[in-house]
Amino acid sequence: MTDHSTTADHHHSADAVDVFGFWLYILSDCVLFATLFATFAVLQFSTYGGPALHELFSLPYVLGETMFLLFSSFTYGLAMMAHYKGNTRRVLQWLMVTFILGVSFVVMEVNEFVHLVHEGHTWQSSGALSAFFTLVGTHGLHVTIGLIWMGLMMFQLMKFKLTPDTSRRLTYLGLFWHFLDIVWIFVFTFVYLMGAI
């Protein structure tokens, strides 16, 4: 353990810089979402003679999606707690719960999209729908990528257990996952709730 401490210190500072870099990436992704939100805000009433957007949504359904994502953010936190205690098994269990909640969210969202398209409200129908599908779809794509990443993470944990490397990667994924829920707060508020006023 003693001859390990100098390399551990070195890892510590290098890891801290890496995580800071990842945090900067997250923030730049926030700017991407801000542009999509601005586009949506401008185009949301341009329905090209079609029904207003709020007539196409079911708020209780979207509330269900919101709950899945919020609770998955929370259970990821529980996985991080288990990680601090060095309990690989528990980390894997909570990651699995998070993964299932995340998949439920994506399935509900895809179902909503399929339903809309099926009724003829596609991204080609109007400016408002283009903006809607771009904004909500980009978020959904992020969640999907996060899920693939989480699957790889679980695989790594099973193979390597908790090491400085896997624990750093857990931190990255945690930042990413909490960030997705934070973006969803604004999708839920500005797209769905405010549309219904």
Binding site: F20, L70, L78, M81, H178, T189, L193, I197
Partner: protein
């Protein structure tokens, strides 16, 4: 393996079960309040827009403080907080500026 080894938190506050629970409960309260307000239609339209925005911002803060544990207490924490505040300023400029310009264009198109 001793469970209380030094935990690497990368400049964030120590994440505890209590902070996650607080974040979850606050997020639930803000989400359901917003949902309830929209369903009730008792507030005026302007009041609804303002209160929904406030609730969203409060939930943002709740999750940033209790889930991400962004803190100003450590030097590393301040390094994380500074770009965060910078990005919020950029977002406000970007979204606010877009809406302002497009509103004006729209106004001059019809008048």
């Amino acid at each position: 393996m001793s469970s209380q080894q030094k935990v690497e938190t990368y400049g964030t506050g120590r994440k505890t079960l209590k902070s996650y629970m607080t974040g979850l409960v606050l997020s639930l309260i803000f989400t359901f309040t917003a949902f309830y307000l929209v369903g009730q239609h008792t507030l005026s339209t302007t009041a609804l827009y303002v209160s929904l925005s406030l609730l969203a911002v409060m939930q943002l803060l709740a999750q940033v403080i209790f889930f991400l544990c962004l803190t100003n207490k450590t030097a590393e924490g301040r390094w994380n907080t500074m770009p965060f505040i910078f990005v919020i300023a950029i977002i406000l400029l970007l979204v606010g500026g877009t809406l302002w310009i497009m509103y004006n264009l729209n106004y001059h198109m019809v008048h």
